[in-house]
């Protein structure tokens, strides 16, 4: 048992559901008690989804506990099969129902005999893995399931250069924008996109995955297992360098080139792209970030320190960008992806003073308080910590708030991503003239506001009870209530405000 206030990564079933609802025409069934289906709320609200989230709870209640849940689960699977005619139904328990140790796999087998669609059981240990690992695992499971099923040996690779993008997920941090940016990049490089999974992909597509010449894994949190599986089974090379920041962009593009050259099959393409000159042109002219870092604006970064925290992909990439592309000192960097600690350490060892690998936000908070950086780059939790410590924070990683599910185009990957990140970094610091002025005038508004009221009337007197009552009203509306009540009292010619007067005023004025 541990005392927990907050967590960076969610429980395993969230990961499974994210994969399931990213695919087109896949329905997830949660074997869960009432109220455990809040994934629907998260997806509907954060992604502002117009469609009903394709996830239904098969409710576990007392009745089910007493009699076993097989009938209900099977009935619910068959019902969804009939109502929605999905291609695939994925059954998952939650932390709670997984303890029941029911043979859900058996339920699935039973249902799949009768159902028109395929049914699988998401095989995830709910006490061993978190949301991220479960998503990775489930994606691999779905891909493996369809490739095992197809049994096609006549897999051929495309003549033209081609790629699968694996790991774009619903509720992922800026995933939609990143995906669009990657499409643009690959088009520039004249590489055809064979499949993008799971977001927007059909489950029938995994069958065709091996046709691509290589796989691109933009985020190592989800997709790496699938890539490794495809590498092992079909010898498909994969690129897992995250194309974030100018340096890693170049590295990623060079690896793409290498991957394309690996296969013996000759590339038949109409035009040849000169990768090096593309990298050069993009880095120097399309991306403004490299130039911007050298411009006079960014002189103010001199001597500033930052703390970075996030998932392994984003924390590592941003640390590298800050340190080697923008010349900002990273005092501490860290990740909550404890399962990926080795890789993370390896990546950032030359770019920061110290590192922290933890999923306890209090520890991160303590470090930030100790370092007192000029800016933080982290998750919504670090933003919150920053608010308390009055340190600005740019959000660079999940978990994020609704502000980071922006309607506008805000990629983190690709050359446009470098611009977005440069903006984010620059705007996160209190810089330039503002910084100077703050120094000169010792902070923001220092003058105490003497009175909020403009009228010179004699204010009615509040008796102790009404004063106490006023204190109970939430602060953000208290002034309004006070003004309205006094206005009411004045209108009625009352000199004293009592609790009764307050109530009467609310009735009359609200």
């Amino acid at each position: 048992m541990k005392l927990a206030h907050w967590m960076y990564a969610g429980p395993a079933h969230i990961g499974t559901l994210r994969v399931a609802s990213s695919f087109k025409n896949v329905h997830a069934i949660m074997h869960a008690p009432l109220g455990d289906d809040y994934f629907n709320v998260m997806r509907s609200m954060l992604e502002r989804e117009r469609n009903f989230t394709p996830a239904t709870a098969s409710i576990v209640d007392r009745h089910v506990l007493a009699r076993g849940s097989r009938k209900r689960v099977v009935d619910n699977i068959l019902r969804k099969d009939k109502e929605e005619s999905p291609d695939l139904i994925i059954l998952t328990p939650t932390c709670t129902s997984s303890i029941l140790q029911e043979d859900l796999k058996n339920f699935v087998d039973r249902a799949s005999i009768i159902s028109d669609c395929n049914v699988i059981f998401a095989d995830v240990d709910h006490y061993q893995v978190n949301e991220i690992q479960a998503a990775d695992r489930t994606l691999e499971q779905v891909v493996r399931y369809y490739l095992d099923k197809s049994h096609t040996l006549d897999q051929f690779v495309t003549d033209a250069p081609s790629v699968n993008i694996i790991g774009i997920l619903t509720l992922g941090f800026h995933n939609r924008h990143d995906c669009r940016e990657l499409r643009r990049l690959l088009k520039d490089l004249d590489i055809r996109i064979n499949q993008i999974i799971p977001e927007g992909g059909s489950v029938e597509d995994p069958k065709n995955l091996p046709k691509a010449r290589f796989n691109l894994i933009p985020y190592r949190e989800v997709g790496l297992m699938t890539a490794m599986y495809l590498n092992k089974e079909f010898g498909m090379p994969y690129v897992s360098t995250t194309p974030m920041g100018a340096v890693d962009m170049a590295e990623c593009i060079r690896q793409i080139k290498k991957s394309l050259d690996i296969l013996a099959a000759p590339i038949l393409s109409s035009k040849r792209v000169d990768y090096e000159s593309y990298i050069d042109g993009q880095t120097r002219f399309v991306s403004q970030a490299a130039w911007f870092s050298r411009s006079i604006d960014c002189q103010n970064f001199t001597g500033k320190e930052t703390v970075v925290f996030g998932d392994a992909t984003h924390a590592a990439s941003i640390t590298k960008i800050l340190a080697r592309e923008m010349g900002i000192r990273v005092s501490c960097t860290g990740t909550y992806c404890k399962h990926d600690a080795e890789w993370f350490k390896e990546q950032i060892k030359d770019f920061c003073d110290e590192m922290i690998i933890t999923d306890d936000h209090a520890e991160v908070g303590d470090i930030i308080a100790r370092v007192e950086p000029s800016a933080i780059f982290g998750t919504q939790m670090e933003r919150h910590i920053g608010k308390r410590l009055e340190i600005p924070c740019g959000v660079i990683s999940a978990p994020a708030h609704i502000q980071n599910f922006s309607l506008g185009y805000r990629p983190f990957l690709g050359y446009e991503g470098t611009n977005q990140i440069a903006d984010l970094v620059y705007n996160s610091f209190a810089l330039g003239m503002e910084d100077h002025l703050l120094e000169i005038f010792c902070g923001h508004d220092t003058k105490e506001i003497m009175t909020k009221s403009l009228s010179t009337d004699i204010s009615p007197i509040w008796d102790p009870e009404s004063r106490q009552e006023l204190g109970k009203i939430p602060r953000f509306v208290r002034d309004e209530v006070k003004i309205n009540t006094e206005k009411f009292a004045r209108q009625k010619g009352l000199l004293n405000v009592t609790v009764e007067v307050m109530h009467a005023a609310k009735e009359a004025l609200s």
Binding site: H5, P33, S44, E469
Partner: protein
């Protein structure tokens, strides 16, 4: 209290595949209400992530509640539950020094049959902090019923009513001690001499004082609230104490008060809307032999002040998908406002506890000359969505998961949780209910020529014909 439900009210029961919040969410409002409490939710990551995400509350600096997160060792019973909880509670006592620690049992503690009730008294004795155990689990309860489970256990901790009704020793002894009448006693004169009345249901303190004032106008003194602002101030209960609820989801608490604490329950409609508030007071008054005064004019005045809103809602239709058990009361109020209610979905319906509310619903329907809407217990969301497609209501009051998709299908939506958190009780707050209800309607009228095919307006004419209250 004889409230026979007319046969015309029919109850249906569906599959129970509906979306609602987990009952542990009650923590989010109860910890704010009971200022010296600490809530410890004993559950899994799934529970914690719910509190953090769906309610977005845990992020606030050091709240007075936390999760005791069960890990693999706890589930497989490798670890000693008692020792584990003891460590956590000692830490909580050290960090927060609460007057009471409330353990919230979850589905997981039910399934692994963790004996929270057995451990609590032992640990309470050992660490010297009262520990209550409420089983707010999703196996048995829905959303707001979490509060019900907490208040029911809290009722057990209320002190016994010490003095026989009628003669209050306290005041007698005090008058001997103090020759001058105390201010407090002077106030007592304002009240009629009646048996104690305790009101149950968690409301923000300004609402508590509003309802206290309403009853004081009828010379009725509220001797206490369950829960009180502080755990130490729990009201005295016992034989001869009258109790009355303000929330429709407190049937378990009501039963506990009747059976275990021997209180007399006043079955009344709930004080939501001017009609409900009036009926609530009118039910309480005669119990104490008091004739309610000037309530009719008061209700009239409130309706008068709501006129601008009523014009907006009259004739509009509404569909309750069912979420927080406030549905019957809200539907009754909205019908009285002139709206048409197609369906009242409700997770659970205690017909005895809600008898007076149901009777008022029936009367309201007769008064407004509309058929009584169907009441669907344990609704099935898929079926409801299908029915809604047929009925095309102007407004759906729904859980958060369905709001955007229904909106995209041209149905105005309002989150049911907003009614859980907004202040909707009492005369003056009827306006706030209508403010919530009319917001999507007003907004739609503001954007009324943006139908789903055009989506934007060509010219920038503003439609001033729409009455926009406030």
């Amino acid at each position: 209290m004889s409230t026979k439900i007319d046969e015309t009210i029919t109850f249906e029961c569906e599959t129970g595949n509906y979306h609602t919040f987990c009952p542990i969410s009650c923590v989010s409002w109860l910890y704010q209400k009971i200022e010296d409490s600490f809530f410890l939710v004993v559950g899994t990551k799934t529970c914690g992530y719910f509190l953090q995400n769906a309610l977005g509350v845990m992020i606030f600096a050091e709240p007075r509640y936390a999760m005791a997160e069960l890990e693999e060792g706890d589930i497989s019973a490798h670890l000693n539950d008692y020792e584990e909880l003891k460590t956590l509670c000692i830490r909580i006592r050290k960090d927060r020094d609460p007057s009471v620690i409330i353990w919230i049992g979850t589905c997981t503690t039910e399934i692994i049959k963790m004996d929270l009730e057995g451990m609590a008294p032992k640990l309470e004795y050992e660490i010297g902090v009262p520990i209550l155990v409420a089983r707010a689990n999703g196996l048995d309860y829905a959303f707001t019923q979490g509060e019900d489970t907490v208040l029911a256990v809290m009722a057990h901790r209320c002190p016994e009513q010490e003095f026989p009704i009628g003669e209050s020793k306290e005041t007698k002894t005090k008058t001997k001690l103090f020759p001058f009448p105390l201010l407090k006693e002077k106030k007592l004169v304002e009240y009629a001499n009646h048996p104690p009345l305790v009101i149950f249901g968690s409301l923000p303190s300004n609402l508590v004082s509003q309802l206290d004032t309403e009853l004081r106008r009828q010379f009725i003194k509220v001797s206490g609230w369950l829960p009180a602002q502080r755990y130490a101030d729990l009201p005295s209960l016992g034989d001869g104490v009258y109790v009355c609820g303000v929330n429709p989801f407190l049937s378990r608490t009501a039963t506990t008060l009747i059976r275990r604490k021997k209180c007399e329950l006043i079955v009344a409609p709930f004080p939501i809307g001017p009609d409900g508030t009036r009926a609530w007071i009118e039910r309480i008054c005669p119990v104490f032999g008091i004739e309610a005064q000037s309530l009719e004019e008061r209700e009239e005045r409130i309706w008068e002040s709501l006129k601008d809103y009523l014009d907006l809602v009259r004739g509009k239709s509404v569909f309750f998908m069912g979420d927080n058990l406030l549905e019957i009361s809200l539907a009754r109020f909205l019908i009285r406002c002139g709206m048409i209610v197609y369906e009242i979905g409700i997770p659970y319906m205690d017909k005895r506890y809600q008898a007076a509310e149901l009777a008022l619903l029936k009367d309201t329907c007769i008064r407004m000359c509309i058929p009584i809407p169907r009441i669907v217990e344990k609704p099935d969301n898929s079926n409801q969505i299908r029915r809604m497609r047929e009925l095309q209501p102007d407004l759906a009051i729904t859980g958060m998961a369905h709001a955007n998709p229904l909106g995209a299908r041209g149905i105005g939506t309002k989150w049911s949780v907003e009614f859980t958190f907004a202040q909707i009780h009492g005369f003056a707050n009827a306006r706030d209910v209508l403010e919530l209800v009319t917001r999507p309607l007003r907004r739609n009228e503001n954007l009324d020529n943006l139908d789903r095919t055009t989506l934007v307006r060509n010219n920038n004419e503003f439609y001033t014909s729409t009455p926009t209250p406030r």
